[in-house]
């Protein structure tokens, strides 16, 4: 009789292939070695990217997931390998990114013995995963892996961690795989209630000053075309959260800009003047709402949302439409009256003029000698023509990137929103580029965040992934410095950075590198970077003490947004 048995480790690989995975990020170690041995055997079908730190594997998997819409996969060993994943998992959890992390674990007989590299990663990862599970028997692998992928990508997506004891990787099983399509205790897509859609439509049709806020739910639910159809038919101005950015082209005439703490003036001020607020796939994060006690109190709120726990969590709704946003918008659009809302649009235009004079002109055409972050982003726009994926890190440069970047198509803005993870961008750019090799990927990073995951330059060098890296160097942890300036009497505690020679570091990894210190050299340098077929590192020395404005100070209302 033929032996059809395979090892648990091989089963893990076969499960990944069954799920259509052909790219994983990871770092080997003792407790995951059987899986790595199989990765070696399957290297023609499943490409493994060796990162330089496990955190990089999670961010690369996130970048891949955000740019492609598919599930990102990261693999690590037990103990420190597993704990190093935690930041990326927490980031994926709060930003609803589909990701499956696989960790090795000590053998079942050693669990709880404080064995070498044993750590309770299930306990540690529980609060930051959508689901996690420890496999201790090889026979569990196919079913659990199938569940992991189903849970990670269905409903409101999120990270799943599967911890596999070493014995389960070695033991042999008869392999058969069946994709998971339902779990009885889990209802990822609430059934659309058409009555709620009708109520929403009636409110929208009767509104004099309706306002759409769109978030990442539109991208995750693949509802971009429906969003565009809705705004065009209804004539309603639409503004985005930073994770919703690129769901509607930035140049679309009905796209009125960015919400929140450093968002545009009009969308923030007029949030408190609209009569119907239509929230699509967004969760009213505190960075969007400012002080909830004075947030859109005059408005009736319609919330289109897939996650029941988000309804009324921060903002009390008048009508909640619980469903997949693509489905609910498809049902809504035919019920919406065609309008233009001209005078309401003019209010946004007036507010934009105010912001243009007070903030934007200074940023994009600065009078100061030093280069501004905004003009650098504008220069990248000029050469990318809005077709690049922009991966930003966390801080001032991120706000400038999100405020000024131009995007023609969806899934183009990859950034750490909810968790605000410095060090996210460099590895995330690797994942985004590998996921979308035909698109240009530009990472925008500050000098602080760059040094948090700088080792991933090694991954870029080894894989030759042609990402473009722009470090906006102000020799400060700029966002913290800005807060110190505004709210802590300029006591710049530990925010000034004495930086190394970044060019030498990039060149040490054999990455083409250039440094720009003068405005007149910026255009040519960005052009050269964008034209490069290989990875390219561009350091731009920017004005040291510029601030990001507008700004809603913590605890203030959206309508109290400051222009200076």
């Amino acid at each position: 009789m033929k032996n059809n048995k395979i090892s648990g480790a091989e089963a893990v690989i076969r499960c990944l292939l069954e799920e259509g995975v052909n790219l994983v990020y990871g770092y080997p170690g003792g407790a995951i070695m059987p899986v790595y041995d199989e990765l070696y055997k399957f290297k023609d079908q499943l490409h493994h990217v060796l990162v330089r730190h496990e955190q990089g594997a999670t961010h690369a998997a996130q970048g891949f997931a955000r740019a492609t819409g598919k599930v990102g996969v990261a693999i690590a060993t037990s103990g420190p390998g597993a704990t190093n994943l935690v930041t990326g998992i927490a980031d994926a959890q709060i930003d609803s990114t589909p990701m499956v992390c696989i960790t090795g674990q000590v053998g079942k007989h050693l669990l709880g013995s404080d064995a070498f590299q044993e750590t309770d990663i299930i306990g540690i990862s529980t609060p930051v995963t959508k689901w996690n599970y420890q496999i201790t028997e090889a026979s569990e692998i196919p079913e659990i892996m199938a569940k992991a992928f189903f849970i990670a990508k269905s409903g409101r997506p999120g990270p799943v961690l599967i911890d596999i004891t070493k014995n389960a990787q070695f033991d042999e099983i008869e392999f058969s795989y069946k994709k998971c399509t339902s779990i009885r205790s889990y209802n990822p897509k609430p059934t659309l209630n058409l009555e709620k859609v009708k109520e929403a439509a009636a409110l929208i049709n009767s509104a004099k000053k309706p306002f759409i806020l769109f978030g990442q739910g539109v991208i995750l639910g693949q509802g971009e075309a429906e969003l565009k159809a809705l705004v065009e038919k209804s004539g309603i101005p639409a503004a985005w959260t930073i994770l919703g950015l690129s769901a509607l082209p930035t140049d679309h005439p009905l796209n009125v800009g960015m919400l929140g703490m450093h968002g545009n003036y009009g969308p923030n001020v007029l949030t408190n003047e609209c009569d119907v607020l239509i929230a699509l796939g967004m969760r009213f994060d505190d960075r969007v709402t400012g002080n909830l006690a004075s947030y859109a109190k005059q408005a009736k709120v319609i919330h289109f949302e897939i996650d029941p726990a988000e309804i009324d969590k921060n903002v009390k709704t008048t009508v909640a439409v619980l469903a997949d946003v693509k489905e609910s918008l498809s049902a809504l659009i035919p019920l919406i009256e065609s309008k233009t809302h001209e005078s309401w649009h003019n209010e946004f235009k007036e507010k934009y003029e105010i912001e243009l004079q007070a903030v934007i002109n200074d940023e994009l055409k600065p009078k100061k000698e030093g280069i501004s972050m905004g003009e650098t982003i504008e220069m990248i726009n000029k050469h990318s023509k809005g077709d690049a994926i922009m991966v930003s890190d966390v801080g001032q440069h991120q706000m400038f990137a999100c405020r000024y970047a131009k995007f023609n198509s969806t899934k183009s803005n990859v950034t750490s929103g909810g968790l605000g993870t410095m060090g996210f961008a460099l590895p995330a750019a690797i994942g985004a580029k590998m996921g979308m090799p035909d698109r240009e990927v530009v990472a925008i990073i500050g000098d602080g965040g760059f040094q948090m995951t700088i080792q991933e330059l090694g991954t870029i060098f080894q894989t030759k992934v042609p990402v473009k890296i722009v470090v906006l160097n102000n020799e400060f942890l700029g966002m913290v410095r800005q807060w110190q300036q505004l709210f802590f009497d300029k006591r710049y505690a530990s925010t000034e950075m004495i930086n190394p020679n970044f060019i030498a570091i990039a060149e040490g990894y054999y990455i083409k590198a250039k440094k720009v210190t003068k405005r007149e050299d910026l255009d040519a340098a960005v052009a050269e970077m964008m034209a490069s077929k290989e990875s390219y590192f561009l350091e731009v020395m920017v004005e040291k003490e510029n601030n990001v404005f507008p700004m809603i100070p913590t605890g203030a209302s959206v309508s109290d947004i400051r222009l200076s």
Binding site: I122, T126, Q134, S182, S185, Y186, D307, P308, A309
Partner: protein
């Protein structure tokens, strides 16, 4: 919004780690769990958690939403005391000699509707089911005589309204 006592009922699959996941939801919000009980439910293979908290209705709604979001949770509810039938159970371990030396103890047991579950040479055990105040009152009466050990269980409760779990499970199947 004022704080109130809420009883949260959670119907779930019986999984390792789910208790940790659920308790973490309270931990993240810095909310103390007053009592917790996990047992089988009326449905085979479905567990039932009874969690008692003192908080605002807004928080309890938020918590129940987060609990329901957990993959292995089938459904979660919350109720105020008036909407449930609830009790706790307590055990008192007391020196046997007192049962014979202190006549009053027998009266206390009778009046409190508690029962003696075992009598050994050195000790006997009283069991009392009821609401917190009744157990506390019994505790107060027995305390002067000396209690060797005392333990009180978490609240268990059933709702007055019907729990639609079976029909829900059928639609999910």
């Amino acid at each position: 919004m004022e704080n109130k006592t809420f009883t949260i009922s959670v119907y779930s699959e019986n999984n390792v780690g789910l208790l940790n996941r659920i308790s973490g939801i309270f931990l993240k919000r810095h909310i103390n769990i007053l009592s917790l009980n996990v047992s089988e439910s009326e449905i085979e293979s479905v567990s039932r958690f009874i969690i008692v908290v003192n908080t605002t209705e807004k928080w309890v709604q938020n918590i129940v939403g987060q609990i329901e979001k957990q993959i292995e949770v089938i459904k979660a509810f919350y109720h105020v005391d008036e909407e449930t039938i609830f009790l706790e159970n307590a055990l008192f371990k007391i020196e046997s000699s007192l049962l014979f030396d202190e006549k009053q103890i027998q009266n206390i047991i009778k009046e409190s509707h508690s029962e003696i579950v075992t009598v050994a040479r050195d000790f006997f055990v009283i069991s009392k089911s009821g609401q917190r105040a009744e157990i506390e009152s019994l505790y107060g009466k027995l305390k002067p005589f000396g209690i060797m050990q005392f333990v009180r269980s978490g609240r268990i409760s059933v709702s007055k309204e019907r729990m639609q779990i079976s029909t829900l499970l059928e639609t999910l199947q």
